[in-house]
């Protein structure tokens, strides 16, 4: 009678995951806003650029990576460019693509925000975990993420739907 098809362990993992992520997300959002006038999404964009091997990323790849629509990313990238934190230049190999890159100001902004950001992550997420716990958690979640990413990304769904319509 309206019993969910998930048992206690499954439900526990699922709910705990969602609770933890939203609690953490809100705390992060708050810190980023007060420390550096950044949205969580904007911060993630900057971080991905910082991580990228050559410091450059294509729009579509970034959109899929951040689980955002391409138009949404265009909006955010516009804000970041206006703020002088990133650059947008047409890709040399494919003229259709736009390549994002970090500016010096972008790097500085990250440096300004990161310490406080790390503190929040430490206090909320990392503190209650032992070193072993941490490894176990990273392993489990990485496997889940890889599994999830095996499905076609957001940007492909639109193309597929469009094709089916015609």
């Amino acid at each position: 009678m309206t019993k969910p098809g998930l048992d206690a362990a499954e439900l526990g993992a699922y709910f705990a995951l969602m609770d933890v992520s939203s609690l953490l997300q809100h705390a992060i959002e708050q810190q980023l806003r007060s420390a550096g006038e950044l949205t969580n999404v904007q911060f993630k964009i900057l971080m991905r650029l910082l991580e990228a091997s050559d410091g450059q990323l294509r729009m579509t790849d970034l959109a899929d990576s951040l689980v955002v629509s391409r138009s949404g990313l265009t909006y955010q990238a516009g804000l970041l460019e206006k703020a002088g934190l990133i650059t947008r230049t047409p890709s040399p190999d494919d003229e259709r693509s736009t390549t994002l890159g970090l500016t010096a100001a972008g790097r500085e902004r990250i440096a300004a925000v990161l310490p406080g950001h790390v503190d929040v992550v430490r206090q909320l997420l990392l503190d209650p975990l032992t070193r072993d716990d941490l490894g176990a958690l990273a392993d489990l979640l990485t496997r889940v993420r890889d599994h999830m990413r095996a499905a076609p990304p957001r940007s492909a769904a639109q193309r597929a739907r469009k094709r089916a319509d015609s």
Copy 2:
């Protein structure tokens, strides 16, 4: 030089957590919209009410539990009430409080949406995990959540700030 204060294991757990939750959240959002005209937040409200021992919850408690502002919850509760899925009645013991309750239609809506919802959670989150993995994940995340919830909730932060201002 601008190195984050987190090592590879910490960063891995943190990023994997955020990636997994946003991937899952987007998939859920999509399913709920197409299956039953519900937002993720609205679905969560209904689920908490279903879970609640007596099927009733106070606004402030629910807001804290869902990590949403009270005004935001008022907005969502208004929509759900207008849709006939929940009831809002003044609490008997404290006239200031509003008690939320599920209607029969609310229960039906949950029943209609839940199977598809469970499928999504299964396919994306649960499938790649063994039974042991699941228990470990639930244990780790539950501990983190309890730790996070030990801090004062959202609704208390406003009161504290207000007091400090005066």
